[in-house]
């Protein structure tokens, strides 16, 4: 296959919380539920730890999309911090849209530790949605798009 005919493989960074969604990913893994390798998971203790800076760094670093997942509302291990993630997500999305990053590139989902299958299915869905959007290719005029993350996916 030549460079031009290779299908676009989105690079997605997923921030998962330790207590619920990361365990869901674990569960999917141990149960051999297949989900797309395009997503690279980063574990936070809580979705409330998600600093919008991480999302921006991901985009600048070559990611085509970012997923944030945490415990269901009301189930946060630290009581209420997933609501902070919810509010930050809404505000961040508005800012990203003004910067020209489509709202479909940022996803927030809630998944409990028992929802491995749901977690895997959502990721697969997200990958296809981002594939349809195309590569983000965030770069300044005259500079290269960051490639380290992308190379890792194709390796």
């Amino acid at each position: 296959m030549t460079e031009e005919t290779k299908p676009f493989e989105p690079v997605i960074i997923g921030f998962t919380c330790n207590w619920c969604s990361y365990r869901a990913a674990d569960m999917a893994g141990t149960a051999r539920m297949k989900y797309a390798p395009n997503i690279r998971l980063i574990r936070l203790m809580c979705s409330g730890r998600l600093d919008p800076t991480f999302v921006l760094k991901a985009f600048v670093g070559g990611a085509d999309a970012v997923m944030i997942s945490g415990c269901h509302p009301g189930d946060c291990h630290y009581v209420e911090q997933n609501y902070k993630a919810l509010r930050r997500f809404h505000l961040l999305k508005r800012v990203l849209v003004q910067m020209g990053i489509e709202p479909g590139r940022l996803k927030l989902m809630w998944a409990s530790a028992a929802e491995g299958a749901f977690f895997a299915a959502e990721i697969n869905k997200f990958v296809e949605e981002v594939r349809a959007l195309g590569p983000l290719n965030w770069s300044q005029p005259g500079e290269q798009v960051s490639t380290p993350i992308m190379e890792e996916v194709h390796a």
Binding site: V55, V60, K84, R87, L92, R94, V95, G100, W138, Q140
Partner: protein, 326 residues
């Protein structure tokens, strides 16, 4: 023994930094006494060729203000870097892009097109300025605009950063004092890359208004309310950026009832100023329901502008997608 050389230059700037330097009043005498001003286009007639003729590293201290908007700004930035021992990014434009950095929301084509097609512009042939144009007498040139505005640090190595739009005069005076003490061997320069002439905390620390736990049910715009002069503005729903903005200005704007618009740039340790504000503002919204959250956020009519007003060029994203397309 000759005095150490001093230079000050403006790239894409408004001249406010020059005025702030003049507003140190008597202190300008100390600059005069301790330095040899070799290049300062606003104040004296040395030209670019005079700088080019100087030895590399022969200018001890250069204060560079203004953003890098065109190829001339970029050329002079490289030239002054070569000729200067200490290069300071002076003022918000050089540090982080400042207001001209807002141009990075649009492509350079859009910027020029808008200027040359306003309702009063008489331009039937849709002319745009050319970097090089042949007149009957010869070819005359103007600089080429770069596709996005850059900060000084994005084009050359910077030694120190002095934030503010403009830096407050008492801070400028303090920095001049420090440099003179260094010259006299009485003090040491801070580590390279330090932000000088400003505080290490946030504007909130200098603001005298009363602060309580914030629970915002509505964002208000300043013209629609008579604010309580004693209470924190953010608490009253006025979007004040003091929470993430570096201290050093004495919180002048909140003192007179105007929200902090963030001209002193990010507080110490902040990687992306806008992200920090997104986090802070979102944290104090008083709702956990998505529809209600959205409704409250509708009160911020321009979030990207609110959070990146002075900092867009210096932020992580630096420019919008349409600016990148050219």
């Amino acid at each position: 023994m000759s005095k150490p050389k001093f230079a000050m230059y403006w790239a894409a700037s408004c001249g406010g930094c020059e005025i702030a330097v003049l507003n140190i009043h008597e202190k300008i005498l100390d600059v005069d006494a301790n330095f040899d001003v070799v290049f300062w286009p606003v104040a004296m007639d040395a030209k670019y060729k005079d700088v080019e003729a100087m030895e590399d590293g022969s200018i001890l201290l250069t204060l560079f203000n203004g953003g890098i908007r065109n190829d001339e700004n970029e050329h002079i930035a490289h030239l002054l870097r070569k000729k200067s021992k200490i290069l300071v990014a002076f003022g918000s434009c050089a540090c982080e892009g400042c207001i001209p950095g807002l141009a990075n929301f649009s492509s350079i084509t859009e910027l020029v097109d808008t200027a040359f097609s306003t309702i009063t512009t008489d331009n039937p042939e849709n002319i745009r300025p050319q970097s090089s144009y042949a007149m009957p007498e010869g070819i005359i040139t103007i600089p080429t605009l770069n596709p996005v505005l850059k900060t000084l640090g994005q084009v050359v190595d910077v030694d120190y950063y002095m934030p503010g739009c403009p830096p407050e005069s008492h801070q400028i005076a303090a920095v001049i004092d420090l440099v003179i003490q260094v010259l006299q061997g009485k003090a040491e320069l801070p580590p390279k890359g330090t932000t000088i002439g400003a505080g290490n905390s946030t504007v909130c620390d200098e603001c005298k208004r009363t602060r309580n736990v914030k629970t915002i049910k509505e964002f208000r715009r300043i013209q629609f309310t008579h604010t309580d002069p004693e209470l924190c503005l953010l608490e009253q729903g006025i979007p004040c950026n003091g929470v993430a903005t570096r201290s050093g200005c004495d919180a002048r704007c909140p003192t007179v009832g105007a929200q902090c618009i963030g001209c002193y740039g990010p507080a110490e340790g902040v990687v992306d100023y806008g992200a920090r504000l997104i986090s802070a503002f979102a944290s104090v919204i008083d709702s956990n329901k998505p529809e209600e959250i959205d409704k409250i956020l509708d009160g911020l009519v321009d979030p990207a502008g609110q959070f990146y007003r002075f900092n867009l060029a210096g932020s992580l994203l630096r420019s919008s997608k349409s600016a990148q397309k050219g």
